[in-house]
Symmetry: C2
Subunit: 204 residues, 2 copies
């Protein structure tokens, strides 16, 4: 026995979260024990409301308060641009740049044979359906620059070519640039990143 | 606006916790969004139950399910030994060693003029009262080896000498040992730790 049940319960629940190890779980729990009860109740209710007050946008498959989401519902955005990402957090990251005015499409993951995720588990066919009709001029594949992200981007590119190119031959398929991160150090960059930075060099 | 309200709410609540920065808060929130709702409800209820199902032991001031706590209520433990710690988590750490069979006394913090915590905010007078009657033979001061922890230990030592030594002259006041941590490297130890390790050397 390590500690009393209500405390151990919460430590165990915190430990199920990513990046939370046993020590952090205990620290968070004892922090809440010391904090005013109103604080922990606010946290508990925010967690309780998370699922009940959110839904999934049936157009872009992002987490939303209503369907369609506020991005898909925004007619000032450019409907000729679709940015394909893995997860809702990627939308938050790209929105944070303020440099993208098109629409999104959230795949819900990446193709990963190891994790048992095939293309049919992702929103790939839904993306293809959105591209029918010829409204979209460019699809930006913004999956992560990881092995699975690259493979998923490649798979989507082929599916668009196979299913859409016939009816919309002008459609552009682009991939977010890879290279040195800003503030990064050339000396410490890994070989793959440095090779990509060289290959992707642009006129200056 | 970064993200929708129920999501941002939870991110904000997570950020109030120690060791949780904005990125981790977002990651935890999106993890819960993807996890089955039952999981997040279990977490929410564990947080909700934390305060309502716990109390503070009025003997040792540790977090407890009932008063007195299961440690203070255990008559197989040695009543002549009291270990003084800063926080409930310290009790968990010492219990984890399995090497201490006495009772505890949780101060609820350390004397810290910077944070505005004086001796009267801590359970120091309650400790003194527990030492009356002469049952206790040794008080182990196990506050942290930090500036505040040392100062608090020193303050408690003086109070015991002033208030208790008269009626119980044989009472021992000890301090947990300082030295090199197991698995540590002498070469990388800071000067204070190394000096303490030398001063505290024992026959081998």
């Amino acid at each position: 026995m390590k500690t009393i049940r209500p405390v151990q319960n919460l430590i165990d629940e915190f430990r199920k979260l990513p990046t939370i190890g046993p020590k952090t779980a205990a620290r968070l729990t004892y922090f809440l024990l010391k904090a005013p009860e109103a604080e922990s109740l606010k946290l508990a209710s925010a967690i309780g409301n998370l699922k009940s007050k959110t839904t999934v946008c049936q157009q872009c498959f992002n987490i939303a308060e209503r369907d369609p989401c506020f991005i898909c519902d925004d007619n000032r955005r450019e409907s000729k641009l679709i940015c394909v990402v893995e997860e809702p957090l990627d939308v938050v990251a790209i929105e944070g740049t303020g440099r993208f005015q098109g629409f999104y499409h959230v795949l819900g993951g990446v193709i990963s044979p190891v994790a048992g995720v095939g293309p049919e588990e992702l929103r790939i066919q839904e993306l293809i359906e959105r591209l029918r009709g010829g409204m979209v001029e460019e699809v930006i594949l913004a999956t992560n620059p990881s092995v699975e992200g690259e493979a998923t981007a490649m798979y989507i590119k082929r599916e668009i070519e196979r299913q859409i190119k016939g009816e919309n031959p002008a459609i552009r398929i682009t991939r977010i640039a890879r290279g040195l991160p800003t503030g990064g150090d050339l000396e410490y960059a890994d070989k793959v990143t440095l090779s990509r930075a060289l290959e992707g060099r642009i006129d200056f």
